[in-house]
Symmetry: C2
Amino acid sequence: MVTMRDVAQAAGVSAATVSRVLSGSRRVNPELAARVLAAQDELGYRTNLLASGLRRQRTDTVGMVVPQVGNPYFSALMEAVGRRLQRVGITVLLVDAENDPDAEAEGLHRLLDRSIDGLLAVPVDEHASTAALTEAAERVHLVQLDRAAEGVPADLVAVDHLAGIRSAVDHLVARGCSDLAFVSAEPRDSTARERARAFDDAMRATGATARASAFGSYTVEWGRVAATRLVEGGRLPQAIVCGNDLIALGVLAVLGEAGVDVPGEVAVTGYDDIGFATLTAPALTTVRQPVDSLAEAAVDLLLGDGPGEDGPSVQRFVPKLIVRASTDPSAPVPHRRRVQERP
Amino acid sequence: MVTMRDVAQAAGVSAATVSRVLSGSRRVNPELAARVLAAQDELGYRTNLLASGLRRQRTDTVGMVVPQVGNPYFSALMEAVGRRLQRVGITVLLVDAENDPDAEAEGLHRLLDRSIDGLLAVPVDEHASTAALTEAAERVHLVQLDRAAEGVPADLVAVDHLAGIRSAVDHLVARGCSDLAFVSAEPRDSTARERARAFDDAMRATGATARASAFGSYTVEWGRVAATRLVEGGRLPQAIVCGNDLIALGVLAVLGEAGVDVPGEVAVTGYDDIGFATLTAPALTTVRQPVDSLAEAAVDLLLGDGPGEDGPSVQRFVPKLIVRASTDPSAPVPHRRRVQERP
DNA sequence: GAGGTACGGGAAATCGATTTCCCACCTTCC
DNA sequence: GGAAGGTGGGAAATCGATTTCCCGTACCTC
């Protein structure tokens, strides 16, 4: 391995000078600087980040923990966060919690052991994640993203799910649906809890009647199971409000296979607006989460000073309902214009 | 920060002894060992991986570079690799190349600077990725996964695309399709080149006739564009062979919107078998890549000794055609059995 | 010309864990 | 009883980059 000493020797200067040239931490004779840069180039020297990090007590690295790398909503978040941080020269270390609080805790430890400068976390479980995250918050600057774990002393950037679910329900009610079913994940994380609560509130506010809600997980498979039960149960609701898009995709698939007319017989809404939401037949009406805004706000907080005197802050972004054919047959076909514009 | 010295002091021993207790590198008086462990627990000590890595010249960390985190096929690979490596106590540092060779090169450097013990790479471009990967291979044990870059001296674990495409074409021909179109990505990476080559070979071998192939990128959007051109071109082929599932999803969406009967008028095949391939209507016939086998083989190579005397090795896995409704209306409905088994 | 102040270079201390290297003590065996 | 061998603990060197501290030179100022 070629070290800074080698470069120093080749350039005929001390290691201190090499360090100063490369980091720009102090003025250096231009003639010496040129020799150093030439030597670096010649030897192909690159600074060892372990040594540098150890000495500086900073690594220009932040950790990010997400519940599930395979969920397109989280990959979108990862990509958005990664782009922003790369721009300011910070590397992201990614950990997949595999939807398991234990794996999450273990991943957090592995990140902390690497002396990261900050941590972005999407907690797996509102309660089971608390201990590990609280510990993490004591060691590094932590920002919670998308979800919160109970009692963790860290800022939060999230979405106003009350408004999100409400916009979906209002839309359905306006289209004449009064008998709604809610299919979502068990309220183990804050988003699932808030969306369930929001659905109940919306029912009360609009006077629509709700089927018994079905709670499973944020997966396609659960959407399939729940929809199968509804189909086999006989009397279908007029609309199915899904806790996220993956569930909605499963629901749509089962309804399609069963020959149910969507949205004629049953309307369906999702939540997130992942890329695949435009690909179903019919395309999925969904509540679009502002991924870029979330990423931007979270990164800004992370690079900032952290919670002030008056405790952690909470930022909520309002999501936007995207109406497509799964609730409205007259909705424009997705991307049609763009495709037609090509020669 | 609590250091090993603090633990040593609290336990009334030297730092050397603490290190020996924690790493098990030498026998230590059980009584002292107990004191050390108690002190560690008391102080919440965790070893600093920067310092440890610097001294040991090993980090128990490997890097992984993928072209695009958001592509479900790559997230599946990442998950499979991550699970395997976690089992042997190795951490994966992930880099998203954003389908850009420059971003890829930069990401590779950032990984190398961190003193990783090994590197798994899915090269973005068969030629443009060569320089950076060759340099990386000189510094660290490199294994290429899924794709290869020209001339890089590193082992490769990949899929036999000749067989994969051939199985799809044979299936279509057997079902009576003789007029085929191939929609894939520009052959800038080895998989795209091999699949294109395989399609031509299969045409010759089966005597089917091919439309001019359409090359774009491995994205839904390109699938939409290509399908739109075919639809607007008038005479549709009897089957469309897609270079990957994302393209196929775009193609299916456009055909669906245009009211084309699949597979009656046009049959469609994909490649990869991502999770969403079962969700389209009709479900997508596709060539399933053996993600777990690939991950296993790549990890084994990475943990092994590297290329021997006789140059880099190449392992090819044979993929499997999964027949679904997009080519065969009688194909079983996906997951139906599983769903029905539930109460 | 004496004294003061920048400026810029290098030697050495430092970050925290690991690993020599050395030494004291204890067995064991002739 | 003494030599040989083994065990286990600690002091100090080490990994590679950064930074403090010190010193010599140059430039001012009065």
